[in-house]
């Protein structure tokens, strides 16, 4: 498993270390979903800070992952999307609708603790 997954209380934190192949990303998704069930986690933070490109496959996979963890009772928060990446994604038309996001790890943890959704992920 390329991506280290840490457990912090009820939360799982996965930090991507380098560009992932499609297979590796799917493996990460499945691993996280499995662990959510195993540990009855309430939240997942996926840190994508090092990704310099988020293409349509990545976006689709992350959306799917957020949906799957939600079905198992955990909120997934994507953190660390860089400015250039965010811009490229909107140009491409990928908005990660319905997926919660935060600026960084701290922001993600704060969002999970807050429990409420606020204005961040409006737009389903």
């Amino acid at each position: 498993m390329e991506v280290p997954i840490l457990r912090q209380g009820n939360y799982l934190i996965a930090t991507i270390q380098a560009a992932l192949s499609d297979a590796a990303l799917l493996e990460l998704r499945d691993e996280l979903v499995e662990r959510v069930g195993r540990f009855r986690a309430r939240g997942v933070i996926l840190d994508v800070t090092v990704l310099d490109v988020m293409d349509s496959f990545t976006a689709r996979t992350l959306r799917g992952m957020a949906h799957m963890t939600k079905l198992r009772g955990a909120r997934t928060i994507i953190v660390g999307i860089q400015p250039e990446v965010a811009f490229a994604m909107t140009q491409l038309g990928m908005t990660l609708e319905g997926v919660e996001t935060a600026l960084d790890l701290d922001g993600g943890l704060a969002a999970l603790r807050r429990g409420t959704k606020g204005g961040r992920d409006r737009g389903r």
């Binding site: 560009a19 192949s21 499609d22 297979a23 310099d52 490109v53 988020m54 293409d55 349509s56 496959f57 689709r60 400015p83 250039e84 990446v85 811009f87 490229a88 994604m89 140009q91 491409l92 038309g93 990928m94």
Partner: protein, 152 residues
Amino acid sequence: MGVSRRCAAEQRGAATVAGEIRVALDSEADIVTARQQGRALAAELGFSSGDLTLIATAISEVARNIVAYAKRGEIVLSHANQGSRRGIVVVARDEGPGIPDIAQAMQDGYSTSHGLGFGLPGAKRLMDEFDIISQVGKGTTIVMKKWARRHG
């Protein structure tokens, strides 16, 4: 192109010929190589960091299309001059099934619902020029260009 640059490019799994960088697309792992090579070349050409990401993303999309539908193909990266501005040229080529109705494939709604992802129309939005030739049974060639914005 400098010798060290060529060596570095070849180390990353690409072949270089007089100003061109070819990346063979045999599996999805090559998608990452293609976009990293594209980013590197674009950086040399002086593109802004925002543009580097746009170019890398566009390459990722078209490369992904090739791997998904044609199974194999190649990306050829080169540069071009137009008057005093420089640009990057990305040619994505495959000998796959071809696209029966290009106009339809270039529509956003169509490609999303047919699982092609944002692929082609998305890539077109990110680049300055976008041309596509496709023949059913023969294959598809896409030529995309982006010009470095003059910084005065």
